[in-house]
Structures are given as C-alpha cells and as structure tokens.
C-alpha cells in the first residue's frame, strides 16, 4: 500500500524533504516509519521513540496501523504562539 509521510521543521531539514510517498507493507505503523528514518539519518539515531505523530491530520499513537492512502506526519516539539 502507499502512504504519504510528512516531516516538518527540524525533521524536514534532516530528511531533506517535506513530503515522501512510500510503498509500505500492510500493518506498518508510524513507529516503523520512524525506525526507517533513524536508519537513514544519523542525526536522529539518539531519538529512539518518535516525536508526536499525526495520522490524517489528527494526533494518533505511534502504534496506529496505517491504511492505504494515509497521511502520516512526524511532529517535532511544537513552539507556536
């Protein structure tokens, strides 16, 4: 199945891109995607647990089972206001 992965702020800088379209196995979770990110980007290696996660623009647990077409976002610590 296909999902869209969004990375913002410092994570976008680290990933080098804001949006990625990924082919993933059925049953993939945001936690799995984070492990993949950590594998690719040494700057993330010390961050074992992912930052906050949103699925389809709502906060969701990192263990959420993703579905085809989902929009997944990693949300670093927010600092609006």
């Amino acid at each position: 199945m296909q999902i869209r992965l969004l990375c913002f702020a410092v994570l976008e800088e680290i990933a080098g891109t804001r949006e990625q379209r990924l082919e993933v196995a059925t049953g993939t979770t945001p936690q799995d995607l984070w492990a993949m990110m950590r594998g690719k980007h040494p700057r993330l290696s010390s961050y074992v647990t992912p930052p906050l996660v949103a699925v389809n623009q709502e906060y969701a647990p990192p263990t959420t089972r993703l579905e085809d077409g989902d929009e997944v976002a990693f949300i670093p610590p927010v600092s609006g206001g």
Binding site: F8, A9, Q57, E58, A73, I75, S79, G80, G81
Partner: protein, 142 residues
C-alpha cells in the same frame, strides 16, 4: 482548504477586536505574542514560523470550538501569523469578549495555553550565532 486562523500577513488587532465584540459585550481581553529580542540568554533578530497548515488550522478551530462550548457567553477569535517576523512583530493574537471580564480573561488565557501545547507550529530563531529550531534538543544548531 480555507484558512481562517492562519495568515501570512500582519495582524490588524483593532479590526480583530471590532470583529469579535458584540454589542452585549462589556469586556474585551486580548493577548498578543510578539517577537522579542532575546530568548534563553541569546539575542534574537527574527523568527521564522512554520506550520503543518492543514492540521494547525483544524487544531486552532478545535480549540476555539472547545472553549466556546465550555464558555457559551464568550466570543473568541484566534489568528496566528506564519513566515519571517522581525522583533516587535505580532505572531499571534487572541481576542475573547464577554459580558463580564472574568470570563473574557479566563478564555483568553486558556486559549494561548492550549494553542502552545498542541498546535503544530514551529519557530526557528535567528540570532547572531545562527539559527535554532526552538524546542529541539542540542544538535540542532546550524
């Protein structure tokens, strides 16, 4: 998607007060966040505000609706600016109006607290030393 709570332009606070106030309101409370020239001992020249726009808009709308349902007498407007802001420019403005001041103050205060907790907006500070994403630990100076 229509963005009612996010803008790329300067915020007109007088207009915001006028648009929020109803003739039954005697109390107007406003909170505004401005870019200040210091943060944790560093001097700050400007801040770049970035957002997960679609989700930030929804979160801001959710917080506004939540507070209105908790305080049915209050009129509430929230607007957050994005992009590069210099020292003194307004990043967020919140206006709460009500018949009575206790409620206007309470809702205004509670709105900024909830917004700071959950809305996916990030700031990158520019100081003479370099740039920093606020809230991300250690290794993020670039």
């Amino acid at each position: 998607m229509k963005f009612r709570h996010l803008t790329d332009d300067p915020i007109d606070m007088g207009r915001l007060l006028d648009e929020t106030r109803r003739d039954s309101d005697g109390a107007l409370a406003l909170f505004a966040g401005a870019v200040r020239n210091h943060h944790e001992g560093r001097s700050v020249e400007s801040i770049f505000y970035e957002a997960y726009r679609e989700m930030a808009e929804k979160e801001l709308a959710r917080i506004v609706e939540e507070l209105k349902s908790e305080h049915s007498e209050v009129s509430l407007t929230v607007i957050h600016r994005l992009g590069l802001l210099r020292v003194g420019e307004i990043s967020i403005a919140i206006v709460a109006t009500s018949s009575h001041r206790a409620e206007a103050f309470e809702v205004c205060r509670e709105a900024i607290e909830r917004i700071k907790r959950s809305v996916p907006i990030w700031k990158k500070e520019r100081s003479p030393d370099g740039e920093t994403w606020v809230g991300w630990q250690g290794e993020n100076r670039s």
